[in-house]
Symmetry: C2
Subunit: 265 residues, 2 copies
């Protein structure tokens, strides 16, 4: 473990840039995982990070100690920072001061959609994107395709909301969703408040791709027109729309319910 | 329409306090509804506000004009503010500058739980609380009971996330949930990652009360022990938990699905 206490240190300057700028994260292809839960999930599911950074005030924390030990066993550098320097990197209030520097995976989009997937068209809110990743991972939907207008998945807010889902799903960003939908080998289901087919009337016992759109405007018209089907979640009463992350959870788990009732029947 | 352009104006000072302080909102029993959608929903579902406040730059907006007209027909004061003064009240970036001042309803807790309801134990995140209100309203679950540790429902963030659900559900705050659960005339179902009963194995074709807990710690042990049943949403793969608002949506809509399949069968 070495200690960096100068704000002019090159590693610290790199961390500061990544912490503060989505553009810097995209350009470097790197991001920061902040907090015990994300670091533990990464170690367990993806292995060692590029670097491990610890606030001096967190060194005595046993969870932090266990992570540091595993990282050092993998011969990866751990760096301690004075608490003030650490705090300037972190968006987590009252968090335990440990973070990983990691490469963000870049993947070539596979040719044709064949496995259950979620397609995000222009979703704006990082909390919604993170919640959708988390629900998808929990429901076994492991491919995620994002249009260029969708919030960057490897931002601190999305990472925090997804609680480790990033490490079990395959994320593709800046995807041409129209081409993906046009060539899909499976049904692409777009949710729309104007649709007439009810979610519960669909047979979801085979892979499907779920298409969700912008929080205010929904799925773009050109994509809606390309989808195999438009579906609505039935509602009661005077509120006619759901938060998009709530809507996604209902869809994913209806698919899981149908698949599990096949297995047990 | 009158214009207020001094920061020392008593109405403006009241608005400023309500905009900035949860404590002030609780104490006054008043809150602000910011933006066209919330104001329109309120007018439609609850009627006229106490006051309508408009940014001068928004006066030419036709949606704003329509709201102002309806408010003035109800003989309620509309006040125009210079854009800079309005902006100091609003948390909505790039929003259309119109807000209502309203009384927040206070209700006595009904004696015994008999209708489908949602109980929130110590939920922290205003976005989660708002999303749960929105999903509940859409699924026809119209009673909401919050413990004193739960985020204040009438804060700007909860209002924004709930998109008008506040005006179709009955919200009870600072509720003694233990007493409510103990005396309930219907089943109280607590979600827990440790439960063994699957959501899909429950018969939800009668009123139930759903109990959701703190984002990190879940439902408190004493409440869990009082609940009729503990249920789990089945999951696949390595992510074992859902965001609480996603979890609530899945529960509410499984209940709606079961009830609708009764009606159509």
């Amino acid at each position: 473990m070495r200690t960096v206490s100068s704000r002019e240190n090159p590693l610290y300057k790199e961390l500061k840039q990544l912490a503060g700028s989505s553009q810097a994260r995209r350009k470097a292809g790197r991001t920061l995982l902040d907090g015990v839960h994300l670091c533990e999930s990464y170690l367990q599911l993806r292995g060692a990070p590029l670097q491990c950074i610890v606030a001096e005030g967190a060194l005595a924390n046993p969870e932090v100690g266990a992570i540091v030990q595993r990282v050092e066993q993998a011969r990866v550098h751990c760096t301690a920072l004075p608490d003030a320097l650490y705090k300037a990197l972190s968006q987590v209030e009252h968090g335990v001061g440990i973070m990983f520097l990691i490469d963000t995976p870049t993947r070539a989009v596979p040719g044709v959609l064949r496995a259950s997937a979620v397609l995000l068209d222009n979703l704006q809110d990082p909390g919604n994107v993170g919640s959708i990743l988390r629900s998808a991972a929990a429901a076994g939907v492991t491919q995620v395709y994002c249009s260029s207008g969708t919030a960057f998945c490897w931002s601190p807010k999305v990472l925090r909301a997804a609680m480790g889902a990033h490490f079990v799903v395959e994320i593709y960003e800046n995807v041409d969703l129209a081409a993906l939908v046009r060539d899909a080998a499976i049904a692409v289901l777009a949710t729309s408040g104007y649709a007439t087919r009810r979610l519960y009337d669909l047979d979801l016992r085979q892979p499907v791709a779920w298409l969700f759109g912008h929080e205010g405007q929904g799925v773009a018209d050109d994509l809606l027109a390309l989808a195999s089907d438009q579906v609505v979640i039935p509602h009661l009463g005077q509120i006619e729309s759901l938060n998009v992350a709530a809507c996604a959870a209902v869809c994913f788990f209806e698919q899981l319910r149908q698949n599990q009732s096949v297995e047990t029947s």
